[in-house]
């Protein structure tokens, strides 16, 4: 647990609730106090255990209903990778989607096109620059989504089950890309091989953190809870 990053995420009694269709309140995440500083953090747990909610809270896509959450240093820009890349891609053509992420940093369209070409080349997608996003395989689409996030040069990458929709080959390729990123990363995943490569693993069950530590013991605890030990 000594591989520390430059970004610190602090959660102080953070909880999250939603309204149900019956008009009641349902707690998705129970009060959680935590400091995250490791370079690679994996969040594992069953569906509906609160993994994605934790990532959405850190990304600022939702706000805590209780407690407070802080990213340090101030002004850290997180990038978010969704499970379904189709939902993440804004523009209909691959090169245009990457260029969309560059709108704030590069003012000239030509400059954006050149930079997006460079980014796609590094991701092995150079030949897909002019392809429609609807003509891509799931693996390629997820890589484009990652490229779009990386184009904005985030200081923290949050990935919500990024390999869920991928086949084995694409999962292996995508995992290597994620693990090769320079930016610190927090990934929610069902892929225990990916989790095993993290510096720290958080295990969630029914909205509560039930294990936190090195991958070996944390994954063993998850297997025990899931009845797969």
């Amino acid at each position: 647990m000594d591989n520390l990053s430059s970004v610190t995420t602090t959660l102080d009694a953070v909880a999250f609730e939603v309204d149900t269709a019956e008009g009641a309140r349902r707690r998705i995440l129970h009060p959680l106090t935590l400091t995250l500083r490791e370079h690679r953090i994996a969040v594992i747990g069953a569906n509906g255990s609160g993994k994605s909610t934790l990532l959405r809270l850190i990304a600022g896509l939702v706000t805590p209903t209780e407690g407070s959450l802080q990213l340090r240093p101030a002004g850290v820009r997180p990038g978010f990778i969704f499970a379904n890349p189709q939902a993440q891609l804004i523009m209909p053509v691959v090169g245009e989607d990457i260029a969309f992420s560059l709108r704030r940093s590069i003012s000239s369209p030509k400059g954006r096109r050149e930079r997006s070409r460079e980014i796609l080349d590094t991701m092995g997608l150079g030949d897909r620059e002019n392809s429609s996003i609807y003509d891509l395989s799931s693996g390629e689409r997820q890589k484009v989504a990652l490229a779009g996030v990386l184009a904005a040069e985030p200081e923290l990458v949050l990935a919500d089950e990024p390999t869920t929709l991928l086949d084995l080959r694409s999962t292996v390729e995508f995992t290597e890309l994620l693990m090769g990123l320079e930016a610190p990363m927090i990934v929610a995943t069902h892929d225990l091989q990916l989790a095993a490569r993290a510096d720290r693993v958080l295990v969630f069950e029914a909205g509560r953190l039930i294990a936190d530590g090195a991958p070996g013991p944390a994954i063993a605890r998850y297997r025990e809870v899931a009845g797969a030990a």
Binding site: G60, F82, A87, I90, V93, E96
Partner: protein, 202 residues
């Protein structure tokens, strides 16, 4: 009905967005002003069909494009047949279709980012006025691009619903189609909003 941009290097692809847009505007204006001129109608159709072929579209693709308009032809023709002769109705429908095909040619040969840049450029001087209403040139061009992107997405939802109905041996009814389509479209809108927020657009 609205084809997505296909990358190419033809003259049409390289033409400025403004010039292409002006071309459509002039054609639509001519089709409206000279509504009884067969010469004008044939000229517009000739330019449109040549434009498709010059853009790299094959003859087969062109026919596929025309076939996609079959429902529009029906919707336009039937009411007109009540009041007009078949020849008059056919003439009117041909005028509308020519302009629709020109618009399709425009989206086929113009990258969304180029359309957005042009819209932004044109609207930029209005930013002081737009900002008072909580809008901006950038926001309007983004809304436009999201609308263009939503067309194939919603069509794919419709195809998914039809498949799901067939898988259960159901006959498609308006209620069983419209309701899930509405729910899926709203869900898509929510996901798009999150995707925009995740990429720094709020």
């Amino acid at each position: 009905m609205i084809p997505l941009y296909r990358h190419g290097t033809s003259h049409l692809h390289r033409m400025p967005v403004g010039a292409k847009f002006l071309g459509i505007f002039v054609a639509a204006l001519a089709a409206s002003v000279f509504r009884e001129s067969l010469g004008v109608l044939l000229s517009i159709w000739t330019v449109t069909l040549l434009g498709f072929l010059l853009s790299g579209t094959r003859v087969r693709g062109l026919f596929a494009q025309l076939w996609r308009l079959k429902w529009l032809v029906l919707v336009l023709t039937i009411p007109q047949l009540i009041f007009l002769t078949p020849a008059e109705a056919g003439f009117n429908v041909a005028r509308v279709l020519a302009v629709v095909m020109l618009a399709a040619l425009f989206t086929l040969t113009t990258a969304t980012s180029d359309i957005l840049s042009s819209v932004e450029r044109v609207l930029r001087p209005l930013d002081p006025v737009l900002l008072r209403g909580g809008l901006s040139a950038e926001r309007i061009s983004l809304a436009l691009s999201l609308t263009i992107r939503s067309v194939p997405v919603i069509l794919s939802f419709y195809a998914d619903i039809r498949e799901a109905q067939r898988a259960r041996g159901m006959r498609p009814t308006p209620r069983a189609t419209v309701l899930p389509l509405l729910v899926m479209s709203l869900r898509h809108a929510e996901e798009t909003a999150e995707a925009l927020a995740a990429r720094g657009v709020r």
